[in-house]
Symmetry: C2
């Protein structure tokens, strides 16, 4: 099938937050991202735009596919070297089931979509499910966040909160036992904190100075840096914390 004019303007509009808000849809670009979407929310997919050059490689249901001339596809793609596939889907609602896995990773005002994607992928690779975030963080269903996350957000339990306090209160009500804030300067070493992954909420901030919000009774953990140089970003810090949980589980 060909892409209709209406579908074309929808794809273009979804590159912006306003366009997503108006339509309730998101655009999901890249082969891995579309496969994740298809695995978790096939019922939400409206259509899948495919560049002519990529059509032979793809195996999605024919009635979903809209073939797009290569040149037009390059024009609507958000990337420089496109893989030739963009799905348009309704934005999934936030998770509302029980909290799964060993711990919750919470992002407080994380503004960078690339960091968000990296963190989501580390969490997925570690086999965890819960990725929570506060207002002021990026939109997980934005074009760049989906691309950088390769769509892993479709398989995670995303939950959005107005403030860090609301987030932590919700977690505690759901049976979480601890709240830890990752601090770039001080706190207990993340390699020594015994209860770090025991039904905890681990909060990571997007600001260079870490988490801006506060929560009464929250512990502070720090990633030791013998180089005495605080140069790692939120995504690197999250990756260290996430894989420390893997190490403990494995040993």
């Amino acid at each position: 099938m060909e892409l209709s004019r209406r579908e074309l303007s929808l794809i273009r509009a979804l590159a912006t937050r306003a366009g997503r808000k108006k339509s309730g849809c998101c655009r999901c670009e890249g082969l891995r991202a579309v496969r994740e979407l298809w695995a978790y929310y096939p019922e939400k997919v409206r259509f899948i735009a495919v560049a002519e050059k990529a059509a032979a490689m793809l195996d999605f249901s024919p009635q979903m596919i809209r073939i797009v001339p290569d040149k037009l596809f390059d024009d609507i793609s958000g990337t420089v070297s496109t893989q030739g596939v963009i799905a348009v889907a309704e934005i999934p609602a936030d998770a509302d089931g029980p909290v799964e896995g060993d711990f919750v990773l919470a992002l407080d005002q994380l503004g960078d979509p690339g960091n968000f994607g990296t963190i989501a992928r580390s969490l997925r690779a570690a086999g965890q499910k819960e990725l929570w975030y506060t207002k002021g963080s990026i939109d997980p269903w934005g074009d760049k966040a989906i691309r950088s996350g390769m769509g892993v957000q479709f398989g995670l339990n995303l939950r959005r909160f107005e403030t860090l306090e609301e987030l932590a209160d919700f977690g505690i009500r759901q049976g979480m036992k601890n709240v830890f804030i990752a601090d770039p300067h001080q706190g207990e070493s993340c390699f020594e904190c015994a209860s770090l992954y025991d039904r905890s909420i681990i909060v990571i901030g997007g600001e260079p100075n870490g988490v801006m919000g506060a929560y009464p009774g929250a512990g502070r953990v720090v990633i030791p840096m013998p180089g005495n140089y605080e140069s790692i970003n939120a995504a690197q810090a999250a990756t260290v914390l996430i894989f420390e949980s893997v190490r403990r589980k494995m040993s």
Copy 2:
């Protein structure tokens, strides 16, 4: 002092590999990057271009400073929201002293400057010094690599080799005891491999399938991923491996 026409064309030219090759200089953008450069190689700095709006905040030697109108600065900057400072410096020669620290991190054909910068910063934060790379990896003195690394490459021992074999041979001659290749699929768990940081060369590849080169007798290590999803990139993998060394050292 004002920026001369000649200096202006030099800054512009240094955004490309050809321009750097011709002049033997690099451009170093951002406040942290310029401070690193200034700390390690003050003698190599030719001049520092500063946007008018940023001039009051900076404290470099007046004879180094070239004040640039804000609009022109935005035009020569490689970033969307510039910090208003770009230093031009001669490219430092590769390290040729003894191998320092506990292990060597080696990059085999790592093509992404953002990943390079992230890895360099993790290494610096962990207090290690040796960052080696093979032909086919990005230029560590490229505009983007310096920005993404925030100039930490100026404080590391960078060494370039034609092939992985040449790199490993050099390391062994310098007294390194082991070569480990990070493999996305198989090998000993990085959390269990006892000799991983004992005078070892740890090789990370830029390709989705890992290291393309080979070395006789090299061990293979893998980062366990209970999520059964190989979605982490070279920079995340390197960060996990680097901070596992920190953890062992601290405990």
